[in-house]
Protein backbone atom coordinates (compact mmCIF):
# COMPACT_ATOMS: atom_id res chain seq x y z
CA UNK A 1 0.00 0.00 0.00
CA UNK A 2 1.36 3.38 -0.89
CA UNK A 3 1.36 6.04 1.73
CA UNK A 4 -0.93 8.90 1.04
CA UNK A 5 0.72 12.28 0.83
CA UNK A 6 0.06 14.30 3.95
CA UNK A 7 -2.11 17.34 3.37
CA UNK A 8 -0.08 20.50 3.88
CA UNK A 9 -0.21 21.63 7.46
CA UNK A 10 -2.35 24.62 8.06
CA UNK A 11 -1.28 27.52 10.19
CA UNK A 12 -3.82 26.39 12.78
CA UNK A 13 -2.23 22.93 13.05
CA UNK A 14 1.21 24.41 13.39
CA UNK A 15 -0.02 26.88 15.94
CA UNK A 16 -1.55 24.17 18.10
CA UNK A 17 1.65 22.13 17.96
CA UNK A 18 3.91 25.02 18.83
CA UNK A 19 1.67 25.96 21.72
CA UNK A 20 2.16 22.45 23.11
CA UNK A 21 5.93 22.73 22.69
CA UNK A 22 5.88 25.95 24.68
CA UNK A 23 5.00 23.89 27.74
CA UNK A 24 8.44 22.29 27.56
CA UNK A 25 10.29 25.54 28.29
CA UNK A 26 10.23 26.16 32.05
CA UNK A 27 11.63 29.70 31.92
CA UNK A 28 8.77 30.94 29.74
CA UNK A 29 6.22 30.29 32.46
CA UNK A 30 6.90 33.09 34.86
CA UNK A 31 5.65 36.55 35.65
CA UNK A 32 7.80 39.62 35.26
CA UNK A 33 6.81 42.79 37.08
CA UNK A 34 3.50 41.12 37.81
CA UNK A 35 2.75 40.23 34.21
CA UNK A 36 3.21 37.03 32.22
CA UNK A 37 6.61 37.03 30.55
CA UNK A 38 6.53 37.68 26.81
CA UNK A 39 10.00 36.72 25.72
CA UNK A 40 10.90 38.30 22.37
CA UNK A 41 14.68 38.47 22.71
CA UNK A 42 15.46 35.20 21.00
CA UNK A 43 18.16 36.62 18.75
CA UNK A 44 20.15 37.40 21.90
CA UNK A 45 19.56 33.98 23.35
CA UNK A 46 16.80 31.39 23.37
CA UNK A 47 15.26 29.57 26.29
CA UNK A 48 15.96 25.90 26.80
CA UNK A 49 13.55 23.00 26.62
CA UNK A 50 13.43 20.58 29.52
CA UNK A 51 15.20 17.84 27.51
CA UNK A 52 18.29 20.04 27.28
CA UNK A 53 18.29 20.84 30.99
CA UNK A 54 17.77 17.18 31.81
CA UNK A 55 20.52 15.97 29.49
CA UNK A 56 22.99 18.27 31.21
CA UNK A 57 21.84 17.36 34.71
CA UNK A 58 21.99 13.68 33.84
CA UNK A 59 25.50 14.07 32.48
CA UNK A 60 26.71 15.61 35.73
CA UNK A 61 24.72 13.20 37.90
CA UNK A 62 25.75 10.02 36.12
CA UNK A 63 28.59 10.32 33.62
CA UNK A 64 30.64 13.25 34.88
CA UNK A 65 34.26 12.64 34.03
CA UNK A 66 37.02 14.05 31.90
CA UNK A 67 37.20 12.86 28.31
CA UNK A 68 39.80 11.22 26.09
CA UNK A 69 42.09 10.43 28.99
CA UNK A 70 40.67 7.84 31.31
CA UNK A 71 40.37 4.10 31.09
CA UNK A 72 37.61 4.00 33.67
CA UNK A 73 33.95 3.54 32.88
CA UNK A 74 32.79 7.07 33.56
CA UNK A 75 35.49 8.58 31.37
CA UNK A 76 34.52 6.23 28.58
CA UNK A 77 30.86 7.22 28.93
CA UNK A 78 31.70 10.93 29.04
CA UNK A 79 33.86 10.59 25.94
CA UNK A 80 31.09 8.76 24.16
CA UNK A 81 28.54 11.42 25.10
CA UNK A 82 30.86 14.19 23.90
CA UNK A 83 31.65 12.48 20.62
CA UNK A 84 28.01 11.58 20.14
CA UNK A 85 27.19 15.29 20.35
CA UNK A 86 29.80 15.93 17.68
CA UNK A 87 28.16 13.42 15.37
CA UNK A 88 24.74 14.91 16.05
CA UNK A 89 25.96 18.38 15.08
CA UNK A 90 27.67 16.99 11.97
CA UNK A 91 24.41 15.39 10.85
CA UNK A 92 22.53 18.59 11.65
CA UNK A 93 24.73 20.64 9.30
CA UNK A 94 25.07 17.76 6.83
CA UNK A 95 28.82 17.96 7.30
CA UNK A 96 30.71 15.22 5.43
CA UNK A 97 32.47 14.10 8.60
CA UNK A 98 32.14 14.52 12.37
CA UNK A 99 35.90 15.15 12.51
CA UNK A 100 35.21 18.50 10.82
CA UNK A 101 33.17 19.68 13.81
CA UNK A 102 35.19 21.69 16.34
CA UNK A 103 33.56 22.47 19.68
CA UNK A 104 34.38 25.95 20.92
CA UNK A 105 32.81 28.61 23.15
CA UNK A 106 30.58 29.97 20.41
CA UNK A 107 30.40 31.86 17.15
CA UNK A 108 32.79 34.54 18.36
CA UNK A 109 35.52 32.08 19.22
CA UNK A 110 34.95 30.16 15.99
CA UNK A 111 35.45 33.26 13.84
CA UNK A 112 38.46 34.32 15.88
CA UNK A 113 40.00 30.90 15.42
CA UNK A 114 39.62 30.90 11.68
CA UNK A 115 40.59 34.56 11.21
CA UNK A 116 43.67 34.09 13.37
CA UNK A 117 44.60 30.94 11.48
CA UNK A 118 44.08 32.41 8.03
CA UNK A 119 46.17 35.45 8.97
CA UNK A 120 49.03 33.03 9.49
CA UNK A 121 48.60 30.58 6.66
CA UNK A 122 46.89 32.45 3.83
CA UNK A 123 46.82 36.24 4.13
CA UNK A 124 49.70 38.27 2.73
CA UNK A 125 50.17 42.02 2.23
CA UNK A 126 47.94 43.24 -0.57
CA UNK A 127 45.42 40.41 -0.14
CA UNK A 128 41.79 41.24 0.48
CA UNK A 129 39.21 40.09 3.00
CA UNK A 130 35.62 40.81 2.05
CA UNK A 131 32.88 41.20 4.64
CA UNK A 132 29.54 43.04 4.52
CA UNK A 133 28.12 46.14 6.11
CA UNK A 134 25.63 44.07 8.12
CA UNK A 135 28.13 41.94 10.05
CA UNK A 136 28.00 41.45 13.80
CA UNK A 137 31.06 42.93 15.50
CA UNK A 138 32.28 39.36 15.96
CA UNK A 139 32.60 39.06 12.19
CA UNK A 140 34.29 42.45 11.82
CA UNK A 141 36.84 42.81 14.58
CA UNK A 142 38.62 39.43 14.15
CA UNK A 143 39.14 40.23 10.46
CA UNK A 144 40.44 43.69 11.27
CA UNK A 145 42.91 42.03 13.60
CA UNK A 146 43.84 39.48 10.92
CA UNK A 147 44.32 42.25 8.36
CA UNK A 148 46.44 44.33 10.73
CA UNK A 149 48.60 41.36 11.40
CA UNK A 150 49.03 40.20 7.82
CA UNK A 151 48.92 43.43 5.84
CA UNK A 152 45.73 42.39 4.04
CA UNK A 153 42.97 44.90 3.33
CA UNK A 154 39.41 44.71 4.66
CA UNK A 155 36.68 45.50 2.14
CA UNK A 156 33.01 45.94 2.96
CA UNK A 157 30.04 45.12 0.73
CA UNK A 158 27.48 47.96 1.02
CA UNK A 159 23.83 47.41 1.87
CA UNK A 160 20.62 48.95 0.59
CA UNK A 161 18.08 51.00 2.52
CA UNK A 162 15.94 47.94 3.20
CA UNK A 163 18.92 45.99 4.47
CA UNK A 164 19.99 43.79 1.59
CA UNK A 165 23.44 43.42 0.09
CA UNK A 166 23.67 45.84 -2.79
CA UNK A 167 22.83 43.93 -5.96
CA UNK A 168 25.93 43.00 -7.90
CA UNK A 169 28.26 44.37 -5.24
CA UNK A 170 29.68 41.03 -4.10
CA UNK A 171 30.58 40.06 -7.65
CA UNK A 172 32.06 43.47 -8.30
CA UNK A 173 34.11 43.49 -5.11
CA UNK A 174 35.61 40.02 -5.40
CA UNK A 175 38.96 40.37 -7.14
CA UNK A 176 41.84 38.03 -7.77
CA UNK A 177 43.32 39.38 -4.50
CA UNK A 178 40.32 38.21 -2.47
CA UNK A 179 41.44 35.43 -0.13
CA UNK A 180 38.53 35.34 2.31
CA UNK A 181 34.85 36.20 2.13
CA UNK A 182 33.14 36.17 5.53
CA UNK A 183 29.44 36.82 5.61
CA UNK A 184 26.54 36.55 8.01
CA UNK A 185 23.89 34.01 6.97
CA UNK A 186 21.04 35.80 8.77
CA UNK A 187 21.56 39.33 10.07
CA UNK A 188 20.82 39.72 13.77
CA UNK A 189 19.88 43.40 13.48
CA UNK A 190 17.98 43.36 10.16
CA UNK A 191 16.75 39.79 9.73
CA UNK A 192 18.10 39.70 6.19
CA UNK A 193 18.86 36.24 4.84
CA UNK A 194 21.91 36.48 2.62
CA UNK A 195 22.38 34.49 -0.62
CA UNK A 196 25.29 32.52 0.80
CA UNK A 197 25.19 29.88 -1.93
CA UNK A 198 25.65 32.45 -4.69
CA UNK A 199 28.37 34.19 -2.68
CA UNK A 200 30.25 30.90 -2.34
CA UNK A 201 30.09 30.30 -6.08
CA UNK A 202 31.46 33.79 -6.79
CA UNK A 203 34.20 33.51 -4.19
CA UNK A 204 35.33 30.09 -5.30
CA UNK A 205 35.95 31.37 -8.82
CA UNK A 206 38.98 33.16 -7.38
CA UNK A 207 39.82 30.45 -4.85
CA UNK A 208 38.75 32.48 -1.80
CA UNK A 209 37.74 30.79 1.45
CA UNK A 210 34.13 31.46 2.44
CA UNK A 211 33.25 31.67 6.14
CA UNK A 212 29.58 31.89 7.10
CA UNK A 213 28.39 33.27 10.44
CA UNK A 214 25.37 31.09 11.11
CA UNK A 215 24.56 32.33 14.62
CA UNK A 216 21.06 33.52 13.67
CA UNK A 217 20.33 30.90 11.05
CA UNK A 218 20.55 27.47 12.63
CA UNK A 219 17.54 27.72 14.93
CA UNK A 220 15.24 28.97 12.20
CA UNK A 221 16.06 27.29 8.89
CA UNK A 222 17.56 24.05 7.67
CA UNK A 223 21.28 24.50 7.03
CA UNK A 224 23.23 22.18 4.77
CA UNK A 225 26.87 23.22 4.51
CA UNK A 226 27.46 21.06 1.44
CA UNK A 227 24.53 22.57 -0.36
CA UNK A 228 25.67 26.08 0.57
CA UNK A 229 29.18 25.20 -0.56
CA UNK A 230 30.95 27.26 2.08
CA UNK A 231 34.33 26.37 3.58
CA UNK A 232 33.50 27.14 7.19
CA UNK A 233 30.32 27.68 9.19
CA UNK A 234 30.04 28.94 12.77
CA UNK A 235 27.20 28.96 15.28
CA UNK A 236 26.50 29.22 19.01
CA UNK A 237 24.61 26.66 21.08
CA UNK A 238 22.72 29.18 23.17
CA UNK A 239 20.82 30.65 20.24
CA UNK A 240 19.71 27.14 19.32
CA UNK A 241 18.06 26.28 22.64
CA UNK A 242 21.30 24.85 23.95
CA UNK A 243 23.50 26.10 26.78
CA UNK A 244 25.82 29.11 26.75
CA UNK A 245 29.55 28.61 26.48
CA UNK A 246 29.48 26.07 23.68
CA UNK A 247 29.36 26.43 19.92
CA UNK A 248 30.63 24.93 16.74
CA UNK A 249 33.01 25.65 13.94
CA UNK A 250 32.52 23.43 10.95
CA UNK A 251 35.27 23.65 8.36
CA UNK A 252 36.41 21.48 5.49
CA UNK A 253 38.98 18.88 6.45
CA UNK A 254 41.64 20.39 4.14
CA UNK A 255 41.15 23.80 5.67
CA UNK A 256 41.34 22.47 9.24
CA UNK A 257 44.53 20.64 8.30
CA UNK A 258 46.06 23.84 6.96
CA UNK A 259 45.09 26.10 9.88
CA UNK A 260 47.60 26.34 12.73
CA UNK A 261 46.39 25.51 16.24
CA UNK A 262 44.72 28.36 18.08
CA UNK A 263 45.75 27.43 21.61
CA UNK A 264 48.28 24.99 22.95
CA UNK A 265 47.75 22.54 25.77
CA UNK A 266 46.41 19.16 26.63
CA UNK A 267 44.46 17.03 24.19
CA UNK A 268 45.68 18.88 21.09
CA UNK A 269 49.02 17.11 20.82
CA UNK A 270 50.47 13.92 19.45
CA UNK A 271 53.92 13.94 21.02
CA UNK A 272 55.42 16.58 23.29
CA UNK A 273 59.10 16.97 24.02
CA UNK A 274 60.85 20.13 25.07
CA UNK A 275 62.41 20.36 21.61
CA UNK A 276 59.31 19.86 19.52
CA UNK A 277 55.63 19.08 19.70
CA UNK A 278 53.59 17.44 17.01
CA UNK A 279 49.94 18.29 16.92
CA UNK A 280 46.93 16.06 16.89
CA UNK A 281 44.65 16.09 13.86
CA UNK A 282 41.48 18.15 13.76
CA UNK A 283 39.20 18.48 15.60
CA UNK A 284 41.44 17.70 18.63
CA UNK A 285 44.06 20.15 17.30
CA UNK A 286 41.66 22.98 18.07
CA UNK A 287 40.28 21.74 21.36
CA UNK A 288 43.13 22.33 23.78
CA UNK A 289 42.33 21.69 27.41
CA UNK A 290 39.22 20.23 29.00
CA UNK A 291 36.35 21.34 26.78
CA UNK A 292 32.81 22.26 27.78
CA UNK A 293 31.72 18.63 27.96
CA UNK A 294 28.32 19.16 29.56
CA UNK A 295 27.76 22.06 27.18
CA UNK A 296 28.39 19.83 24.18
CA UNK A 297 26.02 17.25 25.64
CA UNK A 298 23.38 19.97 26.06
CA UNK A 299 24.00 21.24 22.55
CA UNK A 300 23.57 17.73 21.18
CA UNK A 301 20.25 17.45 23.01
CA UNK A 302 19.15 20.82 21.66
CA UNK A 303 19.98 19.87 18.10
CA UNK A 304 18.11 16.62 18.56
CA UNK A 305 15.13 18.56 19.88
CA UNK A 306 15.12 20.99 16.96
CA UNK A 307 15.42 18.12 14.51
CA UNK A 308 12.44 16.40 16.06
CA UNK A 309 10.29 19.51 15.83
CA UNK A 310 11.55 19.96 12.28
CA UNK A 311 13.18 23.05 10.90
CA UNK A 312 10.79 23.23 7.98
CA UNK A 313 7.87 23.46 10.36
CA UNK A 314 9.68 25.92 12.61
CA UNK A 315 10.44 28.05 9.58
CA UNK A 316 6.84 27.90 8.34
CA UNK A 317 5.44 28.84 11.73
CA UNK A 318 7.89 31.67 12.35
CA UNK A 319 7.25 33.05 8.86
CA UNK A 320 3.52 33.04 9.52
CA UNK A 321 4.08 34.78 12.85
CA UNK A 322 6.45 37.30 11.24
CA UNK A 323 3.91 38.22 8.58
CA UNK A 324 1.24 38.85 11.19
CA UNK A 325 3.60 40.83 13.37
CA UNK A 326 4.85 42.90 10.44
CA UNK A 327 1.33 43.78 9.41
CA UNK A 328 0.34 44.76 12.96
CA UNK A 329 3.44 46.80 13.59
CA UNK A 330 3.30 48.62 10.29
CA UNK A 331 -0.17 49.78 11.25
CA UNK A 332 1.26 51.70 14.24
CA UNK A 333 1.77 55.33 13.19
CA UNK A 334 5.29 56.61 13.70
CA UNK A 335 6.80 53.12 13.82
CA UNK A 336 9.60 52.46 11.36
CA UNK A 337 10.75 48.92 10.69
CA UNK A 338 14.49 48.72 10.15
CA UNK A 339 15.29 45.85 7.80
CA UNK A 340 12.58 44.94 5.34
CA UNK A 341 14.33 42.60 2.96
CA UNK A 342 12.05 40.12 1.20
CA UNK A 343 12.19 36.64 2.73
CA UNK A 344 13.75 37.90 5.94
CA UNK A 345 13.91 35.96 9.20
CA UNK A 346 11.57 36.57 12.15
CA UNK A 347 13.41 39.60 13.52
CA UNK A 348 11.56 42.91 13.83
CA UNK A 349 13.82 45.87 14.51
CA UNK A 350 12.06 49.19 14.82
CA UNK A 351 12.15 52.77 15.99
CA UNK A 352 9.40 55.19 17.04
CA UNK A 353 9.37 58.83 16.01
CA UNK A 354 8.68 60.02 19.56
CA UNK A 355 10.58 57.61 21.81
CA UNK A 356 14.18 56.47 22.04
CA UNK A 357 14.66 52.68 21.79
CA UNK A 358 15.97 52.55 25.34
CA UNK A 359 12.75 54.04 26.66
CA UNK A 360 10.73 51.67 24.49
CA UNK A 361 12.62 48.76 26.03
CA UNK A 362 12.01 49.91 29.60
CA UNK A 363 8.29 50.49 29.11
CA UNK A 364 7.89 47.16 27.34
CA UNK A 365 9.67 45.53 30.27
CA UNK A 366 7.11 47.07 32.60
CA UNK A 367 4.51 45.23 30.52
CA UNK A 368 6.43 41.96 30.84
CA UNK A 369 7.68 42.14 27.26
CA UNK A 370 11.39 41.36 26.87
CA UNK A 371 13.03 42.83 23.80
CA UNK A 372 16.52 44.09 23.14
CA UNK A 373 17.44 47.69 22.52
CA UNK A 374 20.69 49.22 21.38
CA UNK A 375 23.02 48.67 18.46
CA UNK A 376 22.91 44.86 18.67
CA UNK A 377 26.68 44.63 18.17
CA UNK A 378 26.21 46.04 14.67
CA UNK A 379 27.16 49.70 15.01
CA UNK A 380 27.86 50.13 11.27
CA UNK A 381 24.27 49.04 10.54
CA UNK A 382 22.94 51.74 12.88
CA UNK A 383 25.02 54.39 11.14
CA UNK A 384 23.93 53.13 7.72
CA UNK A 385 20.27 53.25 8.71
CA UNK A 386 20.65 56.67 10.32
CA UNK A 387 19.49 55.62 13.78
CA UNK A 388 21.33 55.71 17.13
CA UNK A 389 19.84 52.37 18.10
CA UNK A 390 16.79 50.19 17.51
CA UNK A 391 14.31 48.19 19.52
CA UNK A 392 14.27 44.58 18.38
CA UNK A 393 11.71 41.85 18.82
CA UNK A 394 13.03 38.49 17.68
CA UNK A 395 10.76 35.46 17.51
CA UNK A 396 11.13 31.79 18.18
CA UNK A 397 8.98 28.72 17.70
CA UNK A 398 7.43 29.13 21.16
CA UNK A 399 6.09 32.63 20.59
CA UNK A 400 2.38 33.08 20.00
CA UNK A 401 0.18 35.52 18.08
CA UNK A 402 -1.21 36.65 21.43
CA UNK A 403 2.29 37.68 22.46
CA UNK A 404 2.54 39.77 19.31
CA UNK A 405 -0.72 41.45 20.32
CA UNK A 406 0.77 42.19 23.75
CA UNK A 407 3.87 43.61 22.09
CA UNK A 408 1.80 45.94 19.93
CA UNK A 409 -0.35 47.02 22.87
CA UNK A 410 2.81 47.79 24.83
CA UNK A 411 4.24 49.79 21.92
CA UNK A 412 1.04 51.81 21.89
CA UNK A 413 1.51 52.48 25.61
CA UNK A 414 4.96 53.86 24.81
CA UNK A 415 3.34 56.15 22.29
CA UNK A 416 0.86 57.35 24.90
CA UNK A 417 3.65 58.20 27.33
CA UNK A 418 5.75 59.92 24.68
CA UNK A 419 3.11 61.84 22.79
Amino acid sequence: MTERAQPPETAADLRADMLRLREEFPALHQRVRGRPLVYLDNAATTHKPRVVLEAMTRFYAEDNSNIHRGVHALSVRATEAYEQARSTVARFLNAPSASEIVFLRGTTEAINLIAHGLAHCRLRPGDEVLITHMEHHSNIVPWQMACNQSGATLKVVPITDNGELEPGAVERMITDRTRVVSVVHVSNSLGTVNPVREICALAHRVGAVVVVDGAQAVAHMAVDVQEIGCDAYAFSGHKLMGPTGVGTLWARQELLAELPPYQGGGDMIEVVTFEKTTYAKAPAKFEAGTPNISGAVGLGAAVFYIEQVGLDRIHAYETWLLERATEQMQAIPGLRLIGTAPGKAAILAFTLDTAHPHDIGTILDMEGVAIRTGHHCTQPVMVRMGVPATARASLSLYNTPEEIDTLCRAVNKVKEVFQ
Binding site: H358, D359, P388, V417
Partner: protein, 148 residues
Protein backbone atom coordinates in the same frame (compact mmCIF):
# COMPACT_ATOMS: atom_id res chain seq x y z
CA UNK B 1 0.49 52.40 35.00
CA UNK B 2 1.89 53.65 38.30
CA UNK B 3 5.26 51.97 37.67
CA UNK B 4 5.40 53.90 34.45
CA UNK B 5 4.71 57.17 36.25
CA UNK B 6 7.30 56.40 38.90
CA UNK B 7 9.99 56.32 36.26
CA UNK B 8 8.62 58.59 33.58
CA UNK B 9 7.43 61.44 35.75
CA UNK B 10 5.83 64.39 34.01
CA UNK B 11 8.83 66.59 34.70
CA UNK B 12 11.13 64.06 33.00
CA UNK B 13 8.88 63.83 29.97
CA UNK B 14 8.71 67.59 29.83
CA UNK B 15 12.48 68.06 29.94
CA UNK B 16 12.84 65.33 27.31
CA UNK B 17 10.46 67.17 25.00
CA UNK B 18 11.84 70.61 25.73
CA UNK B 19 15.37 70.29 27.06
CA UNK B 20 16.57 73.42 28.89
CA UNK B 21 20.00 74.91 28.21
CA UNK B 22 20.23 72.85 25.04
CA UNK B 23 22.70 75.39 23.72
CA UNK B 24 26.36 76.09 23.18
CA UNK B 25 27.27 78.83 25.67
CA UNK B 26 29.14 81.59 23.85
CA UNK B 27 31.89 81.80 26.48
CA UNK B 28 32.27 78.14 27.35
CA UNK B 29 35.79 77.42 28.57
CA UNK B 30 35.37 73.81 29.73
CA UNK B 31 33.83 70.94 27.83
CA UNK B 32 33.70 67.16 27.78
CA UNK B 33 32.03 64.42 25.76
CA UNK B 34 30.29 61.45 27.37
CA UNK B 35 29.33 58.19 25.70
CA UNK B 36 27.07 55.38 26.73
CA UNK B 37 28.20 52.71 24.29
CA UNK B 38 25.47 50.39 25.45
CA UNK B 39 22.70 52.49 23.93
CA UNK B 40 24.61 54.80 21.64
CA UNK B 41 23.87 57.91 23.69
CA UNK B 42 26.34 60.73 23.34
CA UNK B 43 26.36 64.04 25.13
CA UNK B 44 28.58 67.10 25.18
CA UNK B 45 28.54 69.34 28.24
CA UNK B 46 29.89 72.89 27.86
CA UNK B 47 30.59 75.10 30.85
CA UNK B 48 31.71 78.66 31.42
CA UNK B 49 33.66 78.56 34.68
CA UNK B 50 34.55 81.79 36.39
CA UNK B 51 36.37 81.78 39.68
CA UNK B 52 35.27 78.26 40.48
CA UNK B 53 31.63 79.03 39.73
CA UNK B 54 29.55 77.51 36.93
CA UNK B 55 28.46 80.75 35.36
CA UNK B 56 26.69 79.24 32.34
CA UNK B 57 26.19 75.67 31.18
CA UNK B 58 24.75 74.03 28.09
CA UNK B 59 24.62 70.61 26.52
CA UNK B 60 24.31 68.98 23.11
CA UNK B 61 23.70 65.45 21.97
CA UNK B 62 21.14 62.74 21.51
CA UNK B 63 19.87 60.09 23.80
CA UNK B 64 16.99 58.46 25.56
CA UNK B 65 14.46 60.40 27.62
CA UNK B 66 16.18 59.60 30.89
CA UNK B 67 19.59 60.82 29.75
CA UNK B 68 18.25 63.89 28.00
CA UNK B 69 16.00 64.96 30.88
CA UNK B 70 18.80 64.26 33.32
CA UNK B 71 21.16 66.52 31.38
CA UNK B 72 18.54 69.23 31.16
CA UNK B 73 17.67 69.15 34.86
CA UNK B 74 21.33 68.96 35.76
CA UNK B 75 22.10 72.18 33.93
CA UNK B 76 19.36 73.92 35.91
CA UNK B 77 20.55 72.43 39.18
CA UNK B 78 24.21 73.43 38.89
CA UNK B 79 24.01 76.78 37.16
CA UNK B 80 25.43 79.45 39.46
CA UNK B 81 26.88 76.86 41.82
CA UNK B 82 30.52 76.37 42.74
CA UNK B 83 32.36 73.28 41.57
CA UNK B 84 32.29 71.90 45.09
CA UNK B 85 28.56 72.49 45.42
CA UNK B 86 27.97 70.74 42.08
CA UNK B 87 29.99 67.76 43.30
CA UNK B 88 27.90 67.48 46.43
CA UNK B 89 24.69 67.52 44.35
CA UNK B 90 26.12 64.83 42.07
CA UNK B 91 26.98 62.66 45.05
CA UNK B 92 23.45 62.95 46.36
CA UNK B 93 22.03 62.26 42.91
CA UNK B 94 24.28 59.28 42.41
CA UNK B 95 23.31 57.80 45.79
CA UNK B 96 19.65 58.24 44.90
CA UNK B 97 19.74 56.60 41.45
CA UNK B 98 21.91 53.73 42.62
CA UNK B 99 19.63 53.11 45.59
CA UNK B 100 22.19 53.74 48.33
CA UNK B 101 20.54 53.44 51.71
CA UNK B 102 20.13 56.81 53.39
CA UNK B 103 19.94 58.76 50.14
CA UNK B 104 17.83 61.87 50.51
CA UNK B 105 15.93 62.71 47.35
CA UNK B 106 14.08 65.49 49.17
CA UNK B 107 17.32 67.45 49.42
CA UNK B 108 17.73 67.37 45.65
CA UNK B 109 14.76 69.45 44.62
CA UNK B 110 13.53 68.70 41.10
CA UNK B 111 16.23 66.06 40.68
CA UNK B 112 14.19 63.87 43.01
CA UNK B 113 12.16 63.01 39.89
CA UNK B 114 14.88 60.46 39.12
CA UNK B 115 14.35 58.52 42.35
CA UNK B 116 12.49 55.82 40.37
CA UNK B 117 15.61 55.01 38.35
CA UNK B 118 17.07 52.88 41.15
CA UNK B 119 14.42 50.26 40.36
CA UNK B 120 15.89 49.97 36.85
CA UNK B 121 19.59 49.16 37.14
CA UNK B 122 19.88 49.09 33.36
CA UNK B 123 18.96 52.78 33.28
CA UNK B 124 21.29 54.14 35.98
CA UNK B 125 23.93 54.87 33.37
CA UNK B 126 21.45 56.89 31.34
CA UNK B 127 20.62 59.05 34.35
CA UNK B 128 24.21 59.62 35.37
CA UNK B 129 25.85 60.12 31.97
CA UNK B 130 25.43 63.92 31.97
CA UNK B 131 26.80 64.15 35.49
CA UNK B 132 29.89 62.12 34.73
CA UNK B 133 30.43 64.29 31.69
CA UNK B 134 30.06 67.47 33.72
CA UNK B 135 32.54 66.18 36.22
CA UNK B 136 35.02 65.46 33.43
CA UNK B 137 34.47 68.95 32.04
CA UNK B 138 35.13 70.82 35.28
CA UNK B 139 37.98 68.76 36.69
CA UNK B 140 41.42 68.15 35.29
CA UNK B 141 41.88 64.98 33.32
CA UNK B 142 40.45 63.29 30.26
CA UNK B 143 37.58 65.07 28.53
CA UNK B 144 36.07 61.89 27.09
CA UNK B 145 34.12 59.72 29.47
CA UNK B 146 32.33 56.47 28.91
CA UNK B 147 29.86 54.65 31.09
CA UNK B 148 31.44 51.31 30.22
Amino acid sequence: MSEMQDLYQEIILDHNRKPRNFTIPAHANHTAVGHNPLCGDQITVLVELEGGVIKTIGFQGAGCAISKASASLMTEAVKGRTIDEAKVIFEGFHDMVTGVAGAEPEALGKLAAFAGVCEYPARVKCASLAWHTLQAAITEGPTQVSTE
